[in-house]
């Protein structure tokens, strides 16, 4: 077991080093960063001095090592456009993205499971077939289009919900801002959360449906029926519990992509999160922010996968036994 954990952690570190290398290479490929920072009339001596200060004259290897060392200390340099620490910029916007991702995931899980169970239990019903058909649309429509349609319907036509921003936010603690404590914050969250969570919701719905249909065909469900247990106990006790194990795994894995895909939703709704920051950085060739964001998302995925792997080993006794052998 310990050997397995150590091996998985080493693998994760290797992946992170590869991500770091890509992030670092960004700096080399998008031209000389100094040119971005200085005006056209800056004297050559000034430029040289700047290069020296930024460490751009050192060998590539030394620069990469320094990049990693700094990254380990959460130091991703100074943003070209804001002239502020990248870490501070990201930390300032992280709450917005995380709250959005959390709301989207909760929406996807709750609605997806409910609809999935309904579709499995009433698999020949009209509504179930409608859900199935609509879910296809949800899977295939691009996020930005859904966002724009929702804005058109609920903000422009009906004027019920705001189309952009986070609403009023409240500061909690030293660095966290939340929209959960104000009415306008909740209202502003609804449309972006639905937009971001819709794809995952349809995914979960289809997964729950097929898993549940599978479980309902098993011998232990037949035996439960033969024992005269109530339909409710069979469907929502015996069947649902067995259905949810793979669903929880998938949802956990999807959390990473929800945060990563928040870029598009944040852009559509002008949501002041990390994704929007990243997109502005791309437009302005703000390499430090891009590199830091890349590292952050990479780290997120590596961590989620690591945790899921370790959890599997922890939960499934057969896997545990196989690892010892």
């Amino acid at each position: 077991m310990l050997a397995f954990v150590v091996r998985r952690i080493l693998q994760s570190i290797l992946v992170m080093l590869a991500v770091a290398l890509i992030a670092f290479t960004l700096f080399r490929f998008v031209g000389d960063p100094v040119n971005q920072m200085v005006g056209a009339d800056t004297p050559q001596a000034e430029v040289e001095k700047m290069r020296e200060v930024l460490g751009l004259n050192d060998s590539t290897l030394v620069q990469f090592a320094r990049f990693i060392w700094n990254a380990l200390h959460f130091d991703f340099g100074i943003s070209y456009q804001f002239r502020q620490s990248v870490t501070a910029l990201l930390a300032e916007r992280a709450p917005a993205t995380l709250e959005l991702a959390l709301a989207a995931a909760a929406f996807a899980l709750v609605v997806g499971v409910l609809m999935g169970v309904y579709c499995a239990l009433r698999k020949d019903g009209f509504l179930a077939k409608l859900f199935q058909a609509v879910s296809l649309v949800g899977v295939s429509l691009p996020t930005f289009l859904i966002g724009i349609l929702l804005i058109y319907l609920f903000s422009v036509a009906l004027n019920w919900l705001p189309s952009n921003g986070r609403g009023q936010v409240v500061k909690v603690g030293d660095w966290w801002t939340t929209g959960f404590l104000t009415v306008s914050g909740w209202k502003a969250l609804i449309l972006p959360a639905i937009t971001l969570g819709l794809f995952q919701m349809t995914l979960i719905m289809r997964l729950v449906r097929s898993e549940m249909l599978e479980v309902l065909r098993t011998d232990y469900i037949k035996f439960a029926r033969a024992r005269g247990l109530t339909t409710r106990a069979i469907h929502f006790g015996h069947a649902l519990k067995n259905t949810l194990i793979p669903v929880i795994t998938i949802t956990g894995l999807q959390l990473g992509s929800i945060i990563a895909f928040a870029i598009i939703t944040e852009t559509v709704f002008n949501w002041p999160g990390m994704g929007l920051l990243f997109l502005k950085a791309v437009q302005n060739v703000d390499i430090p922010i891009m590199a830091a964001y890349l590292m952050l998302i990479g780290f997120l995925f590596v961590m989620i996968n690591l945790i899921v792997d370790l959890l599997y080993a922890f939960v499934d006794p057969r896997l545990r036994a196989a690892m010892q052998g």
């Binding site: 232990y220 033969a226 024992r227 005269g228 247990l229 106990a233 067995n242």
Partner: protein, 326 residues
Amino acid sequence: MSVPVLSVRDLQVEFVTRRGTLRALDGVSFDIAKGEILGVVGESGAGKSVTGSALIGLIDPPGRIAGGEVLLHGERIDNLDAESLRRLRGKKIGMIFQDPLTSLNPLYRVSEQLIQTIRTHTTLSERAARERAIGLLNEVGIPAAERRIDSYPHEFSGGMRQRVVIALALCAEPDFVIADEPTTALDVSVQAQIIALLKRLCAERGMAAMLVTHDMGVIAETADRVGVMYAGRVVEIGPVGDVIKEPKHPYAKGLMGAIPSLEAEIDRLTQIPGSMPRLSAIPAGCAFNPRCVDVFDRCRSERPGLIGVGDNHKAACHLHDGKGRA
């Protein structure tokens, strides 16, 4: 004669498919008296398991009961609504499935599954239900039941799991239990134990049972009477000794001839040529006629009914209706 625990009258089960309606059971009739064990044998697909499912109303669509009656203590149960039928299942009729490895929900402790079933059918408190569950586990021969009851199914061996399954089927003390190939998935040595257990429980509780199997040895050892099924029909039914020693229907003869024997010195076991017809292509007349060694003209046109061929012994064959081969 008192009212039998279970009576089946001319039961028909159909499966509606795109290619037409398949008749899985066609006119099945039998009675099971209190404390009696009826063995049901036949090849795969003969309708043994479908009969079991039909009795407790668990035939999944597109299958349905198309005709006939099922009576429990003289009262019809095949036309009950879903909720009344559910109350009956487990309470009056228990069912034991073939594979103990898949019959138990892997995520619930044995105690949870037992207590839930007991409390579904009785008004016992959680604690009383637990007491009863421990008693049941003791009764089916699980050692240290007080300790083992909180284990998960995967912590038991196959034979022990089948004992748990039996305990679950007996939770509400049903009058009648259907055992659908209860020993097929088990080791031979464990099979004998489970059969002995079933036999003991039926005797102790005066419980009637229908034992579905294709193991003639199990039937010979356990059953009081035996019914032989072929292509969804009962072709012979009678006391177990008579049917095994003096089978009347050519198919039953073939089946008995296929049992290896230590005493008889034969080099080869007899085998029945051909295979059972598909449900979509059951021949007219006697369903067995294409494979029968004694076939004659009437067998191909007229379907034989069950006729008495001995004491409480019936067979569905034109050879025995006294009209001869004419």
